[in-house]
Symmetry: C2
Subunit: 245 residues, 2 copies
């Protein structure tokens, strides 16, 4: 069950300064489509909110009243079956928007895996914003197209790749996460648990654990701690991820 002890923390803009113009996530997000001069208008309808790790902030099936823009931290998006089986459809970080759905209810749930900060807009207010800033709509369309490509790649992974190939693909994805296109880190932290990885890759925690152990045994990766690892053989991992042995 989702931790629901604390309510999301709504923050006041620090010292009353326009929070959007100083937002570190602005360069990454659709908000950069709004010109500086109009930034106050954006700020007027944005509600900055913080949630603790483990806390949910979107519930599948609930009325989709808000549109979210992540500015810090990482969250997982997921869907549940009635018996509790879970599929994580993505991990999202700074710059990512949520709640675009045309439907009037959310199609997925969201929960912070690290402390998360986000801007929350009324979806009704967003509509006016998009009419006035067509560039913002372009950015949204671009982002949606990119997500669609990622979703198709994930379908290939879930439908046709072996456990080994799934883990290889996942580790490469994580090593590139937040890096400029074409770059990857050799060493990085995984902010999510084994259970989250399993639910993202359509596997069990045991299979994730065994597969990582095996990749370590083969010298492809090094496991520094539960959440930190090094890719020792990026080329080998790449071949594996693509389905070559």
């Amino acid at each position: 069950m989702t931790t629901r002890l604390a309510r999301p923390q709504v923050l006041d803009p620090i010292g009353g300064a326009d929070p959007c113009s100083t937002c570190e996530a602005r360069a990454l997000s659709v908000c950069n489509a709004v010109p500086d001069a109009e930034m106050t208008r954006l700020a007027a309808i944005a509600v900055i909110t913080e949630v603790a790790a483990g806390q949910g902030f979107i519930d599948e099936g609930e009325p989709a009243t808000f549109f979210f823009n992540i500015t810090a931290g990482t969250a997982k998006l997921f869907k549940l079956l009635p018996d509790g089986r879970r599929q994580i459809t993505g991990f999202v970080g700074p710059g990512h928007f949520l709640g675009l759905a045309v439907s009037d209810t959310y199609a997925f749930s969201a929960e912070a895996i690290e402390p998360v900060r986000f801007c929350r807009f009324q979806r009704s207010a967003l509509r006016g914003l998009l009419d006035d800033f067509p560039l913002m709509e372009k950015r949204l369309l671009e982002a949606a197209a990119n997500e669609l490509v990622a979703a198709q790649e994930q379908m290939l992974l879930l439908g046709r790749k072996t456990a080994r190939e799934r883990l290889a693909s996942f580790l490469l994805m994580q090593s590139r996460h937040g890096m400029p296109c074409g770059h990857a880190r050799r060493q990085f932290k995984l902010p999510m648990t084994r259970s989250d990885i399993a639910d993202y890759l359509g596997l069990t925690i045991e299979t994730v654990s065994r597969t990582l152990t095996r990749l370590r045994g083969e010298g492809v990766i090094e496991i520094l701690s539960q959440s930190e690892l090094v890719i020792e053989d990026p080329v080998g991992l790449e071949r594996l991820a693509g389905g070559l042995r």
Copy 2:
């Protein structure tokens, strides 16, 4: 291998009449965002093309020069692994657009499963069109958001549902296909082969066949011919699709 014997057939607008204003798919597609008065402009850059069943018309990895709008027939979209494993990411019919990708190469391949007719636009020309008709951009964004929701649902299916649940979900999807929201047919044709169904659901043809036979044995469906069937117990199928036994 994809049939490549015939080249796509480029058609001349019949009798020189504006093909867009008489297009049967217009009501379903993003083109209805272009006002009647401007229809000739749309028609000027649209190239109407027809492809035979079994013929491919988009190749993953090729430069993404065109944007497509299906006007008749059904096509399958898919991704391949180097060893030939295939994942079908969707079946698309009239009104569906393809090739939105931000990347400069196609992220998937497309092949007709029934004779397909589509309009083809240069992506560069589309950009100008979107600038002039913001409503068209809105429609595209809406469509992309809907596809994203469908993609997440498919991830849940591929990652967490059993073969039985996958088939149940698939049959319900097909029974609703092209119907007004909230309606479904009890009897319908499946335009795709067992192999296509298997590659869409992340299964093998044998499992698809066995599972259908079993559903028939249980009186949930009736199989009229290889490609035509009846849903005898819509409620039971619904429960199954949702993961209840």
